[in-house]
């Protein structure tokens, strides 16, 4: 799905975890695309949503705000949010905004999946 300049794809890793692949710009205008992707990724038994940022090209403060509201939504469903594929720049932004204290950050999809599939 494309909204603004963000393309999202959803993959099921297991019955308990799904990945949302993000490609393009994460800004406030991508809110609907991300919310729709979250709805598709979130099944009855989903306990972890994995965000793949390896296709991230641009993010502003509106995008960070959107991730916070996504986090609230996930917490309400008793789900965890984890992320991988962040380059050094975006990792620093997660640290600066202290979003890394709530969204676990991993280097690779395999590491994120291991965390996601942990009981």
């Amino acid at each position: 799905m494309t909204e603004g300049s963000l393309i999202t794809e959803v993959r099921e890793l297991s019955s308990r975890a799904s990945v949302i692949d993000l490609k393009g710009d994460v800004t406030a205008s991508a809110e609907k695309a991300l919310a729709d992707a979250y709805t598709r990724a979130s099944g009855k038994f989903t306990r972890t949503i994995v965000l793949n940022f390896s296709g991230l090209e641009y993010m502003n403060s509106g995008g960070i705000g959107m991730l916070v509201t996504l986090l609230v939504r996930a917490n309400r469903q008793r789900q965890r949010l984890v992320a991988f594929g962040l380059n050094e720049h975006y990792r620093q932004i997660f640290e600066l905004t202290r979003l890394d204290e709530a969204i676990g950050i991993f280097d690779t999809e395999a590491e994120a999946f291991a965390e996601a599939d942990a009981p």
């Binding site: 406030a28 991230l56 090209e57 641009y58 993010m59 502003n60 403060s61 509106g62 960070i64 705000g65 916070v68 509201t69 986090l71 609230v72 917490n75 309400r76 380059n87 720049h89 975006y90 620093q92 932004i93 600066l96 905004t97 202290r98 979003l99 204290e101 709530a102």
Partner: protein, 248 residues
């Protein structure tokens, strides 16, 4: 070779704790130096998203022109009894500004903000520990049809139970009013005769994060109040103590 992301120049870099440059003599700096910034994840109270929008009908200004004016004269558009001491370098990523805010009952709150993000069409300020709110606020302008629209959008929680109580007892409404007035003042300055601000306040998360109740130990309002009580003593001691630099 990896290319630098397009937004790289717009974000603050390498900020762990806040540092202030030269502080104006009339400003009070009690709660900024050495503090970390806090986002909605670190706050205590309910999470609110506040959006104030105003159309600059009749004003022939582009979004970058609006933001340039706003950055340069940020304090000018604030309601009375509130001071924003802009950093010498202006509103630029990584800069820290000092705030002295007027609270009900003639109380003062000395705190600050970090410029988290700034580009030609928006800038975002993030609050430090001890501030009334944990979160950030984005000031932006965009062209919509033939009109430039200004937006103020905050994502915030109160930082601790004391602030949350104050917010429930009218602080929330006062805070919204503060930003509505700011939007009105900016629009008037840019030539809008009768600005109409559209305000939306949404409770994004009704839960209070009780694990963050300990934030109260850094409450800037309490620290400012105690500091104010000590003013006569400091005044009497002044002739006997050497003038010190740094935090005033």
């Amino acid at each position: 070779m990896a290319t630098e992301p397009r937004d790289a120049a717009y974000w603050a870099k390498n900020v762990t704790t806040l540092k202030l440059g030269e502080v104006p003599a009339e400003a009070v700096n009690l709660n900024v130096t050495g503090r970390r910034v806090v986002g909605p994840v670190q706050g205590f109270g309910k999470m609110w998203q506040k959006t104030m929008r105003v159309e600059l009908t009749g004003a022939e200004v582009t979004p970058p022109e609006v933001i340039k004016t706003w950055k340069a004269e940020f304090q000018r558009f604030w309601p009375e009894r509130n001071w924003f001491y802009a950093p010498l370098a202006g509103i630029a990523p990584g800069e820290v500004a000092l705030l002295n805010l007027g609270l009900p009952g003639r109380m003062k709150l000395s705190t600050g903000v970090l410029v988290l993000y700034a580009d030609d069409e928006s800038f975002t300020l993030m609050t430090p520990e001890g501030h009334m709110l944990a979160g950030w606020i984005t000031f932006s302008a965009e062209a919509r049809d033939v009109v430039t629209v200004v937006q103020i959008q905050a994502l915030e929680r109160t930082n601790d139970p004391l602030y949350e109580l104050g917010y429930a007892l009218g602080g929330n409404r006062l805070n919204s009013r503060f930003w509505i007035q700011t939007a009105e003042n900016l629009a008037r300055h840019l030539g809008v005769a009768d600005p109409q601000v559209d305000s939306q306040v949404v409770c994004v998360d009704r839960r209070r994060q009780w694990s963050k109740a300990g934030n109260i130990g850094k409450n800037a309002a309490v620290r400012t109040f105690v500091w104010t009580l000590g003013t006569p003593v400091r005044w009497l001691r002044r002739p006997f103590t050497r003038r010190s630099t740094g935090d005033s």
